[in-house]
């Protein structure tokens, strides 16, 4: 039924410069004004964006063989421990790993000033890092200690590989207790002092493709300022949560595992962050193009903030059940009502930067520098498009 177009047709239009690309925010307006039928005919691609701390992130680095060779057993970069349980000079630096001498939460709330996320940002910003490796020594790898200063260009391989990014929806966090909480959702003041949320709403990638009809294994994306790929569903991917009549999940649902060449990325879109009393993390910029294959995809990408709801959760372990449901238009208005109380809302996800990502991806596609890729495999829970 109705109008349809293929990935190949869209890519031909990208190459010839005739492609029509709009951001997800613009698409919401277009669909509301003209309806999904007309919107589907006019628009080829919708770009999404999100920029927020995403703890399940990190990078595989190969720091190059030394002479004599070393099989690194313990490795630190700028004094932040990296996982070295891989081949000789392969390591993984995780975003939330604090520096080895960090006081952590010994004086609560800890500051967590420098960690794995900061190492990644320093690398992509072109700053030198100090790498230290210890080994127990083997016949084939006799070296027991290496210390050197490296720039990102000196690493033979550097790959950002994030096991869980771009959560499809997330809780709105509040605090019912009588003391301040320091959480990964920011500072939560006592007795419903504030309500924090971390989603870019109508711009958010998986909220524009709620049933994973176009985003799947192999989808090419904007990742940290460079080009990356969806390589699997993310950890904790759970498509089986309650959804509204549009198919949009009402609580945290789908997630993505993303990968890309760290050497293309930038310190503007991979930012080491410190969450007071919680730990270190990495703010990751992600943008995913959604092809408008038919009217249904126009309908999905036409989703507005008022059509996406999430659950208000108490983070003080006082009340296990959600305190209610709230939509993103309400959250973005600045205050919501919870149990009769006016509560100010606080975003942790940067809407300004999410919009910038959607605009950058739009320009990449318009300039013919970025083509769309059809998934090689669909995510669990996907209602795959029917073969025509």
């Amino acid at each position: 039924m109705g109008f349809s177009r293929t990935y190949e047709e869209i890519n031909e239009k990208i190459k010839s410069g005739d492609v029509v690309v709009v951001t997800a925010e613009e698409m919401t307006r277009i669909v509301r004004e003209k309806g999904e039928k007309k919107a589907a005919q006019e628009v080829d691609v919708v770009t999404t964006g999100t920029f927020a701390p995403m703890c399940s992130s990190g990078a595989f680095l190969n720091f190059g063989h030394t002479s004599p060779p070393i099989k690194a057993h313990r490795v630190w970069i700028n004094n932040v421990p990296a996982y070295a349980g891989l081949a000789a000079v392969d390591i993984y630096i995780g975003a939330t790993e604090p520096a080895a001498d960090d006081p952590l939460n010994r004086i609560h709330p800890g500051l967590f000033e420098y960690g794995g996320g900061h190492v990644i940002q320093d690398l992509v910003s072109g700053k030198p890092v100090r790498l230290k490796a210890e080994a127990y020594g083997t016949d084939c790898y006799p070296n027991r200690f290496v210390e050197k200063t490296l720039y990102l260009k000196d690493f033979p391989n550097a790959t950002l590989c994030n096991p869980r990014n771009a959560y499809q929806n997330y809780n709105c966090a509040v605090n019912l207790s009588s003391k301040t909480l320091y959480t990964y959702m920011g500072v939560l003041k006592p007795k419903l002092g504030n309500a924090n949320y971390s989603t870019s709403g109508c711009l958010s990638p998986l909220l524009n493709d709620p049933l994973y009809k176009t985003i799947g294994l192999g989808t090419q994306v904007f990742l940290g300022g460079g080009v990356g790929y969806v390589i699997w569903h993310g950890t904790q991917h759970n498509p089986n949560v309650p959804r509204n009549e549009r198919g949009v999940p009402k609580s945290p649902a789908g997630t993505l595992m993303l990968l890309g060449d760290l050497k293309q990325m930038s310190g503007r879109w991979l930012v080491g962050v410190s969450m007071l009393g919680y730990g270190c993390s990495l703010a990751v910029g992600i943008g995913i193009p959604v092809p408008i294959l038919d009217e249904e995809m126009a309908y999905y990408t036409g989703v507005g903030d008022d059509e996406i709801v999430t659950q208000i959760k108490d983070y003080s372990f006082t009340e296990p059940e959600p305190l209610g449901e709230v939509n993103y238009a309400e959250l973005k208005s600045g205050t919501i009502r919870i149990r009769g109380k006016e509560v100010p809302t606080v975003p942790l996800s940067s809407y300004v930067r999410a919009k910038e990502i959607a605009e950058i991806l739009k320009s990449w596609i318009k300039d013919g520098r970025f083509l769309l890729t059809k998934p090689q495999k669909y995510l669990p829970g996907s209602s795959e498009p029917k073969v025509k």
Binding site: P53, E113, G186, V187, G334, P347, L348, V352
Partner: protein, 150 residues
């Protein structure tokens, strides 16, 4: 009625004088002290909101300057590094005066130093370390030197 949040810096030789009392008695001003500190070098720092009619306020400020108190707007001591700020909004959870606030519906996070009370909560809470405080100028110099050498 005129009111402004100011940073006052007292040199060591007058740090023990009852200066604020004189503002009340002789200049008819009211005040609200937001922060007061004496550094190890005996220099004093006070952040206060000064309130009164404009004429009294100007005379009061003149008095402060005459006796050697350095008067600065708070924006000179607390600032935001715009290149580092992520425009997320985490700081708005703790800012008690609304100096850090969000302009809707664009969701732009702005810092209005005129409304800042110098509490420094944003400095700890900002995930990207975009907020800078330089109440203690000497300490600031020392910090930047040690950072430069690392």
């Amino acid at each position: 009625m005129y009111a402004k949040v100011l940073v006052l810096r007292f040199p060591p030789d007058i740090v023990d004088k009852p200066i604020i009392t004189n503002l009340v008695r002789s200049y008819n001003l009211t005040f609200n002290i937001l922060k007061a500190q004496i550094f190890p070098r005996k220099e004093g720092l006070m952040i206060l909101e000064l309130r009164g009619n404009k004429n009294d306020y100007d005379r009061g400020l003149e008095y402060l300057k005459r006796i050697g108190v350095k008067v600065e707007p708070i924006g000179q001591s607390i600032s935001r590094n715009e290149d580092v700020c992520l425009q997320c909004g985490a700081c708005t959870a703790v800012c008690p005066t609304g100096a850090l606030h969000i302009i809707r519906p664009d969701m732009e996070v702005v810092f209005d130093s005129e409304r800042c009370s110098g509490c420094e909560w944003c400095v700890k809470v900002c995930p990207a370390h975009a907020m800078r405080v330089t109440f203690d100028r000497h300490m600031e110099e020392e910090t930047s030197i040690s950072q430069g050498s690392s």
